[in-house]
Symmetry: C2
């Protein structure tokens, strides 16, 4: 099986929910107009039954594969899994990925212009939830003329959106592929995200969320990202990647500059993130994740799955401490309680939570085989 | 076995290393005069062979047991383990605990007056190491007329000091009791601490470390402490303690105020810490921990133990992800490679790293029995 690239791709924009027909959010607030930035890879077939909707995680965007120009140094965030002959094989499937609402990569978010004021929303942007993200993307799928999805899939927050989709629109989705996710955000993860939010909100350049045009809370966002990065790796992978090696020196400097490679790496990751991500989007998206709880409102997780008939593939990673395997196992048990067809793989990997993004050698064949079975089963 | 309190205690102060006889630090810099704040519980016996030196962890101090006044609401940080009939039984043993250098609870640290300028050191305070802490406490033990310690002990950074003592002064210590510690700081832990330091250093009120008399970087220190707290608990204990329960409300507010109890708890812990701890001490002490590596300088851990003849008790906790059990096991293996008498207990506990401070029901009998054997063996 040869694998290739999707090549040069373009981001499209779809605008809907124009006032007065704004979208009503889970909070009760309304949002509109809404623009979704999205990309597609591969071709929708005549039967319109080969579409796969991919959801990105916290810091992702619509640019999941390929390059925007031949000169781009980086490819899309899941390029290793999307392309001809890859796990999500674009020779066979039509892959769609949109930036979430609340984001800062072309979809409507806190940095977008508030039609009521003509200025960026800032913290006047309404708080959104995973369900709001999913409902907005249903409008995009309708717009694209796709009434049935071969699969919805994603890792981390992308997995949460996949679960929510399966439950909100059970008739539209033949299969669900979950990576490194959970049916509810754990208190430990709420806590970790609150530390990041606190760092942003404490930054004097945050200005109550109305900082556009006058700088940005880059210091706070960098701290949030540094912490995020630690949670995406593992004790083992940090040992392998950095150990206690010093950064550009052979002896301790005995000061507070970065002594160790791991410090230098985190500083770099934090700084780089502030150049590509909006701090308010970080607040809104982490908040949406915190609110995610499939068994909210007095229902058990198994209750929530009772109208679901999709086939499931659930994948967790042995060293993922952000969304540990036991949280995937909870999903699997609730699916089985409803006699839903589910395949579970806990993959032995040292990469921690990031494994869903980097362990493509292990993931591609599992995903490819699963999708072939879904296609055949029709 | 009845257990009681050590009652009302007093903090003492011992000053040494007066210029020109300053203490030479591991960095090559000199420090002096040095004051150590310390407390003692129980009585030194005639034979002077019943003294136990306890080392505190990152945010601890000399006040390990009892109260300073009858009105105190809180007891010392390890009161559950120190007292008549307790794990460190003050009916039998003479217990000593001193605040580390670099600290802010009576021992010389960055908030102390720099004799060269007459002003607080701030970041002119020299960077210190675990070995420097231990060497300064050796001066205190000499001053107290104790030439042999029945035991050195501590959890977390306290365990690191215990290990360092055992190696630096092998003839002075009959036993070593380690709780939730490691022979070197892992890259993951360096990374976590660097996030906290970055939050402090980013705080505009840090002023390059010279903030005394003009406020303090309380926001940054609170963020550091919030993150610290998460690392002291466990996924399990946070689930048990907070779950996803809301704070004083029945429905989501859909905003960025604390929605969940776990957020509210962390905010409280962060704020409270800023009223009792100096941000620069946080920087210096975390840095000292980062530098800790017993197998530094081309020696293996087993090499470092070759002159050690103390009896060891090593205790780890199943859900401690800050200093996981495998790190204690590395110590145990290196001790056994030297035929050193070592007892290892990995205690099943949901409390994470904090277990050494709160799981006293499990710890007291293990420690009590171990110490009795050490006494008998003489």
């Amino acid at each position: 099986m040869s694998t290739g690239s999707v090549g040069i791709v373009k981001t499209h924009h779809f605008t809907f929910a124009e006032p007065p027909s704004e979208m009503k959010l889970e909070s009760g607030q309304k949002l509109g107009p809404i623009t979704l930035a999205y990309e597609t890879y591969g071709e929708l077939n005549k039967e319109k039954d080969n579409a796969i909707l991919i959801f990105h995680a916290l810091s992702g965007d619509a640019h999941a594969a390929g390059k925007h120009t031949a000169e781009d140094k980086k490819v899309g965030w899941w390029d290793s899994m999307i392309g001809p002959g890859k796990g999500f094989n674009t020779d066979k499937y039509f892959v769609i990925c949109a930036n979430v609402i609340g984001g800062c990569k072309g979809s409507t978010g806190p940095a977008s212009v508030n039609p009521k004021t003509g200025k960026p929303y800032g913290t006047d942007f309404p708080v959104i939830t995973i369900r709001d993200m999913v409902r907005s993307q249903k409008c995009l799928i309708d717009h694209l003329g796709v009434s049935q999805l071969l699969a919805v899939t994603g890792g981390s927050m992308g997995g949460m959106q996949s679960l929510e989709w399966a439950v909100c629109f059970p008739g539209t989705v033949r299969s669900v592929i979950l990576f490194a996710t959970a049916a509810c955000q754990s208190p430990q993860n709420i806590a970790l995200q609150e530390v990041g939010r606190k760092a942003i909100i404490n930054d004097p350049n945050w200005h109550g969320g109305h900082y556009y045009g006058k700088g940005s809370p880059a210091h706070g966002l960098a701290v949030a990202r540094m912490l995020g990065h630690i949670s995406y790796l593992s004790d083992v992978s940090m040992g392998q990647k950095f150990g206690r090696r010093l950064q550009g020196k052979e002896k301790y400097s005995f000061d507070f500059s970065p002594e160790f490679q791991v410090e230098s790496y985190l500083h770099h990751q934090g700084d780089a993130f502030t150049r590509r991500f909006d701090a308010n989007s970080y607040l809104y998206i982490t908040r949406a994740i915190d609110y995610f709880d499939m068994s909210d409102g007095g229902k058990t997780l198994a209750d929530r799955f009772k109208d679901v008939h999709s086939k499931f593939l659930v994948i967790s990673f042995s060293t993922d401490w952000l969304y540990p395997p036991y949280q995937s196992e909870e999903i699997v048990r609730a699916l089985k309680a409803n006699s839903i067809d589910v395949t579970y793989n806990n993959i032995n990997s040292s990469f921690g939570h990031d494994a869903f993004l980097v362990d493509d050698k292990k993931l591609a064949p599992i995903v490819g085989t699963f999708l072939s079975h879904v296609v055949k089963k029709k």
